[in-house]
Symmetry: C3
Subunit: 294 residues, 3 copies
């Protein structure tokens, strides 16, 4: 149930074009594995389950290119009637996704900020509102926007390694998670846990994240694939139509809220991110990251 | 605080008539036990506690007749100033209530669907909005509409038998719990648990239901009556007026939402249930139930 | 982010006057410890942490004078750029605060009730909406309005003594917690726990309060100060601006609701408290308290 008002994302039309919605009754076009630059997608037509693997080293950061590819891949699967569920995971060791790419938010034009933020919104609208069963197989750390991706799925399985952490840590960087990150978070962990975690910008080690429901299940890394498949099978056992309507009923209020305030939210982002104090914080943060690496 | 807009249910005026609201100061008419076809009601005037026992074998399904009798019984107690609390339980072994009667939703006229759905709404509006203390003594399985009855009470005690399960399993049947079932569920278990449980159409064994708060307490079957009485006494120790206003404050938003959208909700139900695909699912489900029995 | 529409509290302008907001760039006026009648305030300028100690024996009840002093002290700190966090605790043994002063609600004029209720609202609007980090160090029992003060802070640490209890027990007195007490409570413990606890007017011993999240942490009395300081330091490690915007995002809906209905809420209070039946309950309750003492 992609909400009304969500425009198709038109940047970078991919070489393979848009998968047209199949008219009912026509034979399905077989969907092979496809990979672009940053995300590898495989569809197992026998089970109806696709896997999206983030492969954008070093940390799967959500650049404009990554987000665009994500949205197009998701739309392609959404329109493919052979696909009923998606597993989202990472091909990069130790990291699921590091979240929004800070270089997209630093020293760029107002137009760029607007385009970038629209792509972030689009990603969330499509994922949180997906008709497919979505399972996050969180096989590495998952701060900020990476956490949002996990939160937007129907179910979250995380590798039980306490070195992997997850959370909306925006406040640590001097920035603020937007209201729809917050709404998604509150829907998963409740108001109190969200209030405290967001104010402290907490990154929760996997066991702690599991304790208060930020992730649904922990497994040893070697069991992740098997467990994810089993969970997906359990969700796919339900009739699609009833499951989709139920999901829509649960998520509609929060999706509608962004749809209603989308342009305003973009303007807020631009005016916030354009502040010299915020730009300075982000530059310092990037310097720190560079030193860590070097 | 029966919300404004709730019309008295006028179908099948019972032989014993409607209990008139007692003008203050007049002596109370003694209220004897009364039983119609499907529900046995007993009022202990010394404690002010009534017991409603479902006795509609084989599975206490919520037919139009059952719902009508339920509403009339509840209204009778609500208007009886000698009655301050109601215990709801089953006289049929192993089942609390199996939920809405599928035969009422299959192969009937539009008018019938409308009348049936209005009775379902009425039952919930009266029970969730009751001024009395309501305690569910869940002594058997309680799927779908049976679960809704339990959720609408102030407190839920369930027999600790793991063979008894409870949940809003509509999605398993290819149908969707209406928004006010969902609202009631979210108010008890929170958004995340509700989202997952509704999408999977889960029936939770008693111990699991207790773990996430779907029921408040588990007891051995032989202790159910004693425990229920003790809980009721605890709630009745509070001054009625303050307790009622508090209950109304907590539940008003969700009650008002159905009252505001009642006709629309009936139309939604009719158009959904009239679909050939849904009718087919329900017929298949009924076939399956028949085979199980046979 | 004191919400728009919150008028400055003009009763009893204190001898030391109102601390003017410092224009940016000017040197800060050093803020010494100040104490009026009922609350002792100390600011440690090196850490930026103030401590407000209730010292209004026997039970720190929230009289009109107490509330006025509370609001003025809080505003003074809020406007002092040297102050970033406040610890709220009691100087009276065994009691944090006993809640609203019943003598202010009994046998007084309509005008007095209005003034009193406005002061209660003001206290909550300022505390729940404070830009500072607020930590409650609950070193004694904390019923009703005392519990509200704790609930309005960012974090609650309670002495682990099971003789100390906390809760919104208004229903026990035959009165009803206003909707914004309820909203604050629901934001901390969720809808189900709040519904049950408010209807029963429960006072929860510290360990029970901790179990369902009414307080965040329990410590032995001798560790309270140390632990409170450590928690405050953790919260102050975040950049103020991001933390404040995040806090505002989480609390705005509930604050706005009272601001929008403030006069109506005062009128409701007046008409409720003026009822002879309510006055009688309160008088009986005060008699009982007197006998207990005597």
């Amino acid at each position: 149930f992609v909400p009304p008002g969500v425009l198709p994302l038109c940047r970078q039309p991919p070489a393979w074009g848009r998968a047209p919605r199949q008219p009912p009754g026509l034979p399905l076009a077989p969907c092979r594995a496809f990979s672009n630059n940053k995300i590898m997608v495989e569809l197992d037509e026998s089970s109806g389950v696709a896997t999206m693997k983030f492969k954008s080293p070093p940390v799967n950061s959500l650049s404009l290119d990554f987000l665009t590819e994500f949205c197009i891949s998701l739309e392609k699967l959404e329109n493919n009637r052979a696909c009923r569920g998606v597993i989202i995971t990472s091909a990069v060791p130790k990291i699921f996704s590091s979240g929004l790419d800070i270089t997209e938010m630093c020293g760029k034009s107002t137009e760029h900020y607007a385009e970038f933020w629209r792509a972030v919104q689009e990603m969330w609208l499509r994922l949180y509102g997906s008709n497919m069963v979505t399972v996050a197989a969180v096989n590495g750390s998952s701060p900020a926007g990476g956490c949002l991706i996990a939160l937007s799925c129907d179910y979250r399985i995380m590798v039980e390694n306490p070195k992997f952490s997850i959370g909306l840590n925006e406040a640590q960087l001097g920035i603020v998670a937007p209201f729809w990150f917050k709404d998604t978070f509150v829907n998963v962990v409740g108001h109190r846990v969200a209030e405290r975690s967001l104010q402290l910008g907490s990154l929760h080690p996997a066991p702690e994240a599991h304790r208060f429901g930020l992730v649904d299940e922990l497994v040893p890394e070697e069991k992740l694939q098997e467990k994810t498949g089993a969970v997906m099978a359990q969700w796919l056992a339900l009739p699609d139509h009833a499951r989709q309507l139920t999901k829509s009923m649960m998520r509609k209020a929060v999706l509608d809220r962004l749809v209603a305030h989308r342009e305003e939210d973009i303007q807020n982002f631009i005016s916030f991110i354009s502040k010299e104090s915020i730009q300075k914080s982000l530059r310092m943060y990037m310097e720190m990251l560079k030193k860590k690496k070097g």
